[in-house]
Amino acid sequence: MVRFEAISKTYPAYRGKPGVNALQDIDFAIPRGSITGVIGRSGAGKSSLVRLINGLEKPTTGRVIVDNRDISALAGRELRLAQRSIGMIFQHFNLLSSRTAAGNIALPLEIAGWTKADIKARVAELLALVGIADKHDRYPSELSGGQKQRVGIARALATRPSVLLSDEATSALDPQTTRAILDLLANINRELGVTIVLITHEMSVVRQLAREVVVLDGGHVVESGHVADIFTHPKHPITQSFLAEVIGDSLPVSLASRMTSEPSAGGQAVIRVQVRGAGAGDTVVARLARDLGLDVALLSARIDEIGGQHVGSLTLGIPGGEDAVTRTLAWLSQHQFSAERLGYVA
């Protein structure tokens, strides 16, 4: 388990640059065996946060507890020993170009003082685990991005860590490779029980892999909890903006350009309905049309699944003037849908 206790991190002023409060009032725990996403925009403090976990950075105040040990209090040899139980993978893989895939994976084992025979056996095991047993003697320059990250993952797991830190590990990969790497991480979490902490600015990574999420903004944790809870009811504007990346909150251009603020005779009112929760959006259009006897038009819709919950929005066209709009909004609020009137189209 990883626990942050009253953490703050300040970088002092240096060479004319002002000091930076990178993290403030950080207090949360990452459960053992979980996959926790830490999401935020650039400069939100994600990298500082993850580097506190493996002691690459020291907090200005507070403690970081990893496996019941205060890692922020360790230094020198003790810290280096503790770091062997925390693996890390990087956006740009950070492989040694002078070593083969096997040599790169062997590095942390050499540093930990394993014997040659033990290293050889462990490296073979790890290459098989990450699915690139045939790349044993290949240099990084001969590997694709996905293969390099697989080597990075094998290297991070070499000393059997209990925590795996991923610092934007898929940000330099194409979507298909990203999916394959995230699947691999999910397998590793399932089979080895390794706690995974994912630092990312991509909502899609959190959505696909994480079960817990921590939203960082300006050095503060603005929301944290189960992915499904956080993203079905996002409270903070930053969380909402991340959600919008997945479900989209902008109207199709053709619709937006036709929209007016005043109703026209024979036109439709444009109403947006938020969809949150399991199965919530399935039948709303049909039920609305049937109950109110209206020819409801579906102008645009986007529904996605996050943590097993439906999340999205429907844009409906309601004919029949002001009276129909009032009845529609009343029906929606009665059925626990949040909805708003955006305007009118002819």
């Binding site: 493996n54 690459l56 040899r77 810290l79 280096r80 020993l81 503790a82 770091q83 062997r84 925390i86 693996g87 890390m88 990087f90 740009h92 950070n94 040694l96 170009s97 002078s98 070593r99 590095l107 942390p108 050499e110 540093i111 930990a112 240099y139 990084p140 320059s141 001969e142 290297r155 991070a156 070499a158 000393t159």
Partner: protein, 221 residues
């Protein structure tokens, strides 16, 4: 050219190679650690010691900006202390080493600084000690650059070694000046220059070859 003269050239070539070889070895022995330290001891770096870094930097610059021939003369007492004499090829190794050490150190520093800082962070993240980072990450990753640096150092040492002839150091430069210039034997001068050119070509080609060999696997980085 008479056999005696040819013998002189062979003997002088041997002296030059001896001076340059030993000075390059010693220069590397001192310059490599010094260069690694210069590259890793600024504020926030692996062996952070900003003050020592700055002082060493000034010493290195001072040594490098002293003209070699002045350095040779200036350190004669020191040379005598180390080598027992200030004349001859063995004595010449002292100023050659002192001149090549800071030169090699700066080249090593530049090569080490080329290594991606992310690799240092990576090695630290799995608990490598600073020395392990130097030997397992920095030096292997900088190896092509280090080999080219060493080649450059040997080539400059060949040039310097021609100068120590002026203080009785022996070698090809000495031969060229005494026979070629002072006794006015242009064919001797020509022979010395040809041998020096051949040596430089040989060293450069060997260095390039080695650097390319270790570099081949990193080409598509």
């Amino acid at each position: 050219m008479s056999p005696e003269l040819i013998n002189l050239i062979i003997q002088a070539t041997g002296e030059s190679l001896y001076m340059v070889g030993i000075a390059a070895l010693l220069g590397t022995a001192f310059g490599l650690p010094l260069g690694v330290f210069l590259a890793t001891s600024r504020k926030g770096e692996l062996f952070a010691a900003p003050l020592v870094n700055r002082v060493l930097g000034i010493v290195v610059n001072a040594t490098r900006s002293t003209p070699f021939i002045i350095l040779v003369v200036a350190i004669i007492p020191f040379t005598r202390l180390i080598a027992g004499t200030s004349i001859g090829s063995t004595a010449a190794i002292v100023p050659l080493t002192i001149a090549s050490t800071p030169f090699i150190a700066r080249l090593v520093e530049a090569a080490i600084r080329e290594v991606d800082g992310g690799l240092i962070e990576t090695a630290s993240s799995f608990g490598a000690s600073p020395l392990q980072i130097v030997f397992k990450v920095l030096i292997p990753e900088a190896l092509p650059g280090l080999l080219l640096a060493l080649t450059l150092a040997v080539v400059s040492l060949l040039g310097y070694s021609a100068m120590v002839g002026a203080v009785g150091g022996g070698g090809l430069g000495d031969l060229g000046i005494r026979y070629g210039y002072q006794r006015f034997m242009p064919e001797m001068m020509l022979a010395v220059v040809v041998v020096l050119i051949a040596l430089v070509q040989l060293v450069q080609s060997a260095g390039d070859y080695l650097a390319r060999r270790v570099n081949r696997r990193l080409r598509h980085r």
